[in-house]
Symmetry: D3
Subunit: 326 residues, 6 copies
């Protein structure tokens, strides 16, 4: 009985080595990634049992994804099917003044063809404590949006707390579509992870600062907690990264970490993992601190997945310094 | 004004290194390949100017394909479009008793969405001497089949000789569909490359031997020349490879080469290149010999493309031996 | 509740690339391997739920092993400890006339320091159907031998069938030590995997042929089934591989496969997996055939682990041929 | 009929991976590079048809260079010869306080043995709009200097505008030799790319600032435009990069970009490409801005060649920011 | 007759590529390293003949170490033995806020099993000018500590000057053990390399500044020179590095270099090499400057070993700048 | 005082990975090789102290060669100079029916510019037992031929036995030039390694069989021993390899080994090493057997150098078989 359930797509990630452009590349590094999976892995790394629900093609690429999910400590609850393909994305890492960029090739993936009834949600949620999904899953297809709704409602019905990372992807749907669908889904959400721009673009919600925006999101959708990333991007290889949250009428912030960037992806997902872990432990501030530290460390690790241990996050929170550890 | 025009799809080829299964792989080698392109490259390597007509997505993967086509000496006459994706295939090389295998991910590619009118065939064929296509192109979609027909008819109208490699792909269409469509296309074909099993499965044409089958294909479709591969497969790393042909009522054969296999793909396409080159030079037997030698050498070269020079084929035909060349 | 339990050591395997000698190497490929684990992975690949019981250091190498065990589909039931280190082995692959060779660096590993009581065997075996161990585990230390004995007796007490692969390792113990300990352990064994030389060296049991040796092993130790590998080694890159078995007074044999060798390790362990699967399904002959085919395919796959699907073994048994599969 | 013609040497570039010293290296990455080619590639990337005139040995290294020239979108107008070798250079990338460094092995290259008459310049320039060469080509040999002069004069005779990048290389010739030869060549030059130190060392031309130096270069040699790089080098991995130009009595400057350096080579050549493109479009300031942005981006791309699209330069000029692009 | 003798352990260094965590790694880069060896290599690179005394297992890993020692220009005076193993360490390089870290696997190494009498120290030191050892060697085992003492006393008896780098390793022994043993060994030491924290933790020696601590170390142990690293660690990829020394009642300092870090290991050992070289040449200040520059450059070079030439250190001391060197 | 002295060129060897053509390659593997060096390394591997005399450019490539020579256990007696370059060769490994091939780029190397007086031969040979050179060294230049003659005469004058491997390279000189020069050099030769075709082409010496040719070589030139390789080349990856010798009027032969070929180069040089070692030990037959076994094993090792131990050759001579060695 896993404590945490996540639902979404994981893709095979094909990254060019050493800052090469895709056009000039002769090899790709093969990893997997997907926002919900990344968060589930983060929670598994912290010692929470976690399962990831998805749909994959019954071919070697689908198997590769499931293998790697297990490798990272998460139980794959995957429906292998003959319809649809395995989503892919191609990554080229940049250097100032060239930003990193992603080319998605995820259309027609097996998870986009998910059907109502493919998963037995009540059984899935029996004994679980948390359900996590993002705004990417419902953006994949109308079916995926419908199933996401079913899952969220089933979670709430089972007394499972839920989180949604808004994660608006403009390549997948319009702001209007996203706003309409996410408004509905947020009715079943406890913790909302969102940026101020997404709040404005999807829901027209603005404010003087994060606290005000968060308060309005809480008022509008009935979520109880809102959190977000605080990032500055002075250079491609150097950012600052921290977190900000709002719940119970109070604003919470964390340290901002100076990060040297090995891999730009999955930091927000790692933050979500740390935060959910803290909330499950009953301490929102600690969770936010933990998530910020975890997200900061994530930038140093190749791939989407947060290969981080609880111990090293704790040491960062204690301020262990940057000297080599022997 | 290229001498040779080919029309078809080229895919990005993602191969696991060193016999790894796709499931276990951490890097993929990135090459390109496509039956018609492979033949065009072979002809370019022999000094024939060659162009490849296709449709690719206007993104880094599409550009990668075009870059590599140029690298290999062929002029890409590509329509870059916003619809469709770049076809991909994943290759794992085997060892006895495990055969090599391919996982295609080519559905919904830009070339499958080709439209009548996308290419100005009369202009394309002006001054050309040969047009080459395979049974894969019409299998991609009904549109692709229709445009293949247009191209073949335009070629004949322009006095350009044509070749079709039957290349039946059961994943793409049924025998019936293939038989019906290819029967039509063969009306505009001079040189048919085909195996005996394909002749039987698509057209129900059988015979005691290759000569008889070829004679019936000539009778049935009005092609003038038929040729095919002669391969034995005792092991995955060791095959024999030769060619056989029939034209003007006569059977032509070549030496059978013992081949040590670095890369199994593209040998038949290299054979077609050598044969077409010989026919263009007016000597079917020499072309068949040349094609067989070129196809044999192709097994020793990584990737789909025949990185072979005319000189080294000629030396193989002279029997240069296998000692290291300094 | 896994169907199959295996107990033993898995090491980090550090292999030189492309036939390099260890002395000259600049990179090592990192895999994991261990005879019992390899068999458990084979069974998991065939759809049997499998767990692997072991002891590993609580450090990144220990975690790497556990991660990869999960990746391969087996549940790691690992006790992470602060004593002992992670066993390693260094592999260099050869070419005729240089044999492949292994340099072990496994002394003082965490599993060698296993203590009676480290594992709750009755709970482990509840609901299980099969327990597999090899003669390597008891060779690691006296403690390991004692715990192996406990495990085997607990398995029998729980009604779980057992297999032991004799696997004599002369670097770890003498023939006398091995003979004494293994004689004792075989009292709790149903299926014995053994070679004729090992039977002679450890137990002084000889015979005119495999059947006679097997019959005597059955008489002496009370096992019910005996099986072994049938291999010829004409070259380093080319062997033949088959299996032979004896049970119920009858001799069973399989086809001998011509194998091209990508990786020499784990073939016997894959054979064990196929055979156990067959026995669990109630068909010794089918299991032996299946195991031989699985072991043959294993030679084509890099690493110790059998990344093989049930489907492809079945197709080999049907004689699918060696042509590329599209 | 290409719009742009470049003339010079391209070498095979052998770079150590990951900051290794040449002495300790076990693999080299294989790219090609050459100042004139780099600029031609930049222009091709911006949509200008470009050809590169050179001389290469008729061997696999010479073919490799030609293949890659085509891959990058430039037409190689190469005379393959039996005399001379393929120029090589070995690159090791540094980190503060160790600068990157190059070991040239280009002596006796085929292009250094170029003969008057090897190229039919009038035909080459028919229909062309621009001819680009650098001070490296004439430095290769007396023959090369003579042929460079022929080419420049033929270009002017054909009404083709010309650019010379001064690019003084002290390993190839003395300041006096360079000063004498370049003074002569500049008589046929429209756009001069030069640094202040080179202007002083070769021609003894100094001034208070770039404008004054440029004005004197214009007065002395009759060129109409002068431009140069503006770079600061606080660290090996971090520079600032911009451009400065002078024409029609006016000084032009651009933004200075903070660059994180993946590859230090080819930035000035990319600048030249952007500037020439702008001049061809009739806008010196836009060309300078475009060139500066293009040169800045070049630092982020492995190899000498500017794998950059017009679109991304335009977006940098608009100030798109450094966040990951999805 | 080498000028310089070093005594200690060298390990095979297995580093994950590109910032990977050990847990996720699929290949390791294979180098060697050891504090005393690193310093000996530094001296050899500066033109001093150097030998390295150690004990290694008589297997391919031991041979690999000896091969690489020779490659780096140092004469291995190695006793190959059948007891003990080859020490290993695993390195993962970090990025802010994750520090780099090392996992040692050196227990039970051949050198830890060294016996009094294994080396003929009087012969070893005949004609030598300097002996270097660190606080790591005596920490390996009681035997190793005893032999270190023998060596130091033999060196002094032979009129050879000596240096000890304190290098306290808390994983190998306690502060008390280290304090006791090192106090004894320092009686035979001329040059002590030490940090202020180590002086305090091992000997309880503190002071207002480095000068005061050094003066007390000199008073207490009778060493004549003390030197140390001056490092700041604002980020993982960016440090400052300089040196500080004290002898003859005077404090010596050097420039602080801004370093971009490719490899964090061996900088202090390179500093020791430069300083010893300077002392041998009779100039402490020059040696300290040279050592600081050499240590700074070392950060830019992969592996433990300082692949640096005397010439490039001299140029850094002259302030050559960071532009690419052609 | 080394036992064995070799004199010749070593080149940096740049090999394409995995059977790639040079034209298509993106990385080269970097090794070193040279016939005389290869033999010296073989002798060092067998425990003979060996030095290699040569001339290299004083740049990182020259240093790389010297580093690797030391790594392989041979003392480099190298004159580093400012004139000339480092010889290079490019290797592409083939597969039937494509032979492996080498592209040399060694013209104008430092060793070709050797001057009489560059080496103090009497000092070099003091205490030595054997001097080895090949027909490649005198082919490099007239100077190199003259210095080779000096060296051979100095060796004989010092009572050092000598060997010459005829090794005719048609790219470097004509048969006539080679015949004339080698005839002269053979006057100072004890052991001649030669093939029957070379004996005919250079000296016009033929015979019914190897014995007759060898006897005539002995008669003509006064050498005392003649030996050669016995190789068949049925495939590129599979050869047979043995040796044949003649001395004292008697013919000596060895076993023929079936070899699977990882690297085709250096087998004859390894044979020479084994043979010289045997002759030094007073047993021509044992040396020939040893050399044949060593040469056979060499085919299994990447690079030119024979990373082989005496022990494993002895085991091959005993017939150890091809099973994996644990």
């Amino acid at each position: 009985m896993p404590d945490v359930i996540a639902f979404g797509e994981a893709m095979v990630r094909l990254a060019t080595p050493h800052f090469q452009r895709i056009e000039q590349s002769r090899t790709f590094d093969v990893e997997i990634g997907g926002a919900e999976l990344n968060t589930a892995v983060g929670l598994a790394r912290l010692g929470r049992s976690a399962a990831w629900v998805s749909r994959l093609p019954d071919n070697p690429l689908g198997q590769l994804v499931a293998n790697r999910v297990r490798e990272a400590g998460v139980e794959p609850r995957v429906r292998f099917t003959d319809d649809g393909r395995c989503g892919l994305y191609f990554l080229e890492s940049g250097a100032s003044p060239r930003a990193s960029s992603i080319l998605y090739d995820r259309k027609d993936s097996s998870i986009a063809r998910v059907q109502s009834g493919d998963f037995d949600w009540p059984t899935t949620f029996a004994g679980a404590k948390w359900f996590h999904v993002t705004g990417i899953t419902p953006a994949l297809s109308e079916n995926a949006a419908a199933v996401t709704g079913e899952a969220l409602r089933a979670a709430k019905a089972a007394g499972v707390r839920t989180s949604i990372d808004l994660n608006y992807r403009s390549k997948l749907w319009t702001r209007e579509e996203a706003g309409r669908t996410m408004s509905e889904l947020l009715r079943s959400c406890d913790l909302l992870l969102a940026s101020e721009p997404d709040a404005e673009h999807l829901f027209g919600i603005t404010g003087r600062d994060f606290a005000e925006v968060a308060a309005r999101l809480i008022d509008t959708f009935g979520v109880t907690m809102v959190a977000g990333v605080r990032r500055s991007t002075p250079l491609v290889w150097r950012n600052t990264f921290g977190a900000i949250g709002f719940t119970g009428g109070k604003l919470f912030t964390t340290a901002d970490y100076e990060v040297e960037i090995v891999d730009r992806l999955g930091a927000g997902d790692a933050l979500a993992a740390g935060l959910i872990d803290g909330i499950l432990a009953g301490d929102f501030q600690y969770g936010l601190d933990f998530g910020a530290a975890m997200g900061a460390i994530k930038h140093s690790i190749p791939g989407d997945l947060p290969w981080i241990s609880r111990g090293e996050v704790e040491e960062l929170l204690k301020g262990h310094g940057l000297r080599i550890r022997r």
